[in-house]
């Protein structure tokens, strides 16, 4: 069991988890598969960002910034491969989110549903802002930003994360 130097959490709350290789590889791929397949029949499902939720979950559970960044970078890059945008837009955004989520996981209790809801809600907004900045500043594209739509999407993703994270908790292994 690892302990953070400065923490607002109890011993149980700063437990560092690890995941088996099949889970580490399979869950992100499954998330991307669901993300690209199901909107085909149900277009409204594209409001969810499952790869982002998986990135947050793994980063928070591992509580180590470097693996969190790598996880975010890989998931984001794979997600970019399905879009018309240059590869790296989602990669950079999710790398930053992976770093922030793993850093936050060290300091806060992120295992109860309330904190998960707030955390995902906030990270979705941050991710969206980073994404827009990258598209505008680095790609030179045109990316409209609608606060109303973004807040609704953040709310939907936060609600989904509560359910999803509870299910993914079963794959955690204590170090």
């Amino acid at each position: 069991m690892n302990y953070a130097a400065v923490s607002l959490t109890s011993r149980e709350e700063i437990e560092v988890h690890r995941f088996s290789w099949p889970v580490s590889l399979g869950i992100p791929l499954l998330a991307i598969f669901i993300q690209v397949f199901f909107p085909l029949r149900l277009p409204f499902l594209s409001i969810f960002d499952l790869p982002l939720l998986v990135t947050i979950f793994f980063a928070v559970a591992r509580r180590r910034p470097i693996p969190g960044m790598i996880t975010g970078a890989l998931i984001g890059t794979v997600q970019d491969a399905w879009t018309s945008l240059p590869i790296g837009v989602n990669g950079i955004a999710k790398t930053i989110i992976g770093f922030l989520a793993s850093s936050l996981g060290v300091k806060l209790d992120v295992d109860n549903p309330g904190s998960r809801f707030l955390m995902t809600f906030t990270f979705y907004l941050v991710h969206r802002v980073i994404y827009v900045v990258i598209v505008l500043a680095l790609v030179g594209g045109n990316e409209p930003f609608s606060w109303g739509h973004t807040l609704v999407a953040a709310l939907a993703n936060a609600l989904l994360s509560v359910v999803l994270f509870a299910g993914l908790d079963k794959f955690k292994q204590r170090m």
Partner: protein
């Protein structure tokens, strides 16, 4: 930081390259990532789509049996109506073909269509792409247009061995040349980040009505001309681009629920060859063919008389030269006289320049030694045996006017026929449009 740095550099590389004009090469360095990703996930998509289709098809097969009888009746009615419609359209198509050949228009049409099933999307709201289950192994290439029977869908952006990514027309990176069908205004169709379609570059003083249909113009060299794109749903001044209008278009194809699409793998392009016949056929003759007219009683009588003496008349096929050319609209049910009898005239080697129809056909149909005989047998009023049979005694337009390809004309009238067949400029001896059944 190193991870971020690498990604930023990779991003910068991709963004820079399209400016050099090599749009497809932009993904050269990162293509491997796309290939690996798509190759890893697409088999699962294909399997799921295939199993889903199997279950759905079987279920529908069972359900559809309940309404099969009623549906069959409705479809038969529909087929009957469509047959009538088809006859009319065939006539128009033939006429359009002739007019195009007269004007020397270059045609582009579908040479080959490849059906494909949609097996995935981009998964994000920011990018509008779909994945199809056909790739380079099926002959798909980058920039091939993708359509549905309802309208255009997009173009192929990335090709992998067994799958391809299609950029939809409502993506912000997409563009297509379009024409507004009624007002004939041309513009560029673009998507926006919200997935809406807009036609740009139309001045604000133009009048565009809602509901006007939008079709492809063919100017982008990707989509063939005339494909349906959608309908105008809203027109307003473009405040960001002041002198122009913001024309919002509702796509004809439901881009959010695509299941099967068609990839145009081959677009044929050709300039119609002006055959000898087509070169000498005037547009006015073609139009006169469509005009209604009533056969004169005298002609009908003569035609009937001529038909009764037909066995004695050598070769009704080449028809009486000079007669039909003088009165092209005399027998509306029959083939256009000018068109029909102009065939030998147009195929003579007397020159490619258009000549008066009557003179040339007389030359062709009456070679030396046969002129007198022909003039004796054929009345000069348009009551030639061929025309007479069609106009006067035989009301069915298809039966009479079709000239036999190899007329068995004995004696005197046998001479015009070989002359007609052997002197073609284009080398075509098969019946031309003028010899086909009348419209």
């Amino acid at each position: 930081m190193a991870i971020l740095f690498v990604q930023v550099v990779a991003l910068a590389t991709q963004v820079k390259r399209p400016e050099g004009g090599t749009g497809s090469a932009a993904s050269g360095g990162t293509r491997l990532i796309r290939v690996w990703t798509v190759t890893a996930i697409s088999p699962f998509e294909r399997a799921l789509v295939a199993s889903g289709s199997f279950v759905r098809r079987n279920f529908h097969n069972y359900i559809d049996l309940h309404d099969a009888r009623q549906q069959n009746r409705q479809l038969q009615d529909e087929i009957a109506q469509l047959k009538l419609e088809q006859v009319r359209l065939r006539q128009d198509a033939e006429q359009a073909k002739r007019l195009r050949s007269l004007l020397g228009f270059t045609q582009r049409y579908f040479g080959q269509l490849l059906p494909a099933q949609v097996i995935g999307t981009s998964g994000t709201e920011q990018s509008h792409m779909i994945q199809i289950d056909k790739g380079s192994s099926s002959g798909v290439k980058v920039d091939m247009p993708v359509i549905t029977p309802d309208g255009i869908v997009g173009k192929v952006k990335d090709v992998f061995p067994f799958t391809s990514l299609v950029l939809l027309i409502n993506d912000r990176d997409s563009g297509a040349g379009v024409i507004l069908q009624t007002s004939r205004l041309q513009g560029v169709l673009r998507g926006n980040p919200q997935g809406e379609l807009h036609v740009g570059d139309i001045m604000s003083d133009e009048k565009i009505d809602d509901g006007e249909e939008v079709i492809t113009s063919g100017g982008d060299r990707i989509y063939p001309k005339g494909l349906p794109v959608g309908t105008v749903s809203h027109v307003s001044p473009d405040h960001d681009n002041e002198p122009f209008l913001a024309v919002k278009v509702k796509p004809a194809a439901d881009l959010s629920r695509l299941e099967e699409v068609l990839v145009v793998t081959k677009v044929a392009q050709e300039t119609p060859q002006q055959t000898g016949q087509a070169a000498n056929v005037r547009a006015a003759d073609i139009l006169s063919e469509r005009l209604p007219s009533v056969p004169k009683p005298e002609e009908t009588k003569k035609a009937g008389a001529a038909k009764t003496t037909a066995p004695a008349v050598p070769s009704p096929t080449p028809s009486a030269p000079g007669t039909s050319g003088t009165k092209p609209a005399a027998n509306p049910p029959a083939p256009p006289a000018a068109l029909k009898t102009a065939t030998p005239a147009s195929t003579t080697k007397t020159g490619s320049a258009p000549k008066p129809v009557v003179n040339t056909e007389q030359k062709a149909a009456h070679p030396p030694g046969s002129t007198a005989a022909s003039q004796k047998t054929a009345p000069p009023t348009g009551a030639s045996p061929a025309n007479a049979g069609s106009a006067g005694t035989n009301p069915k337009p298809k039966a009479s006017p079709t000239p036999p390809k190899k007329p068995k004309a004995p004696a005197v009238a046998a001479s015009p026929t070989p002359a007609q067949g052997t002197s073609t400029d284009s080398g075509q001896t098969k019946p031309t449009d003028a010899e086909k059944p009348p419209r």
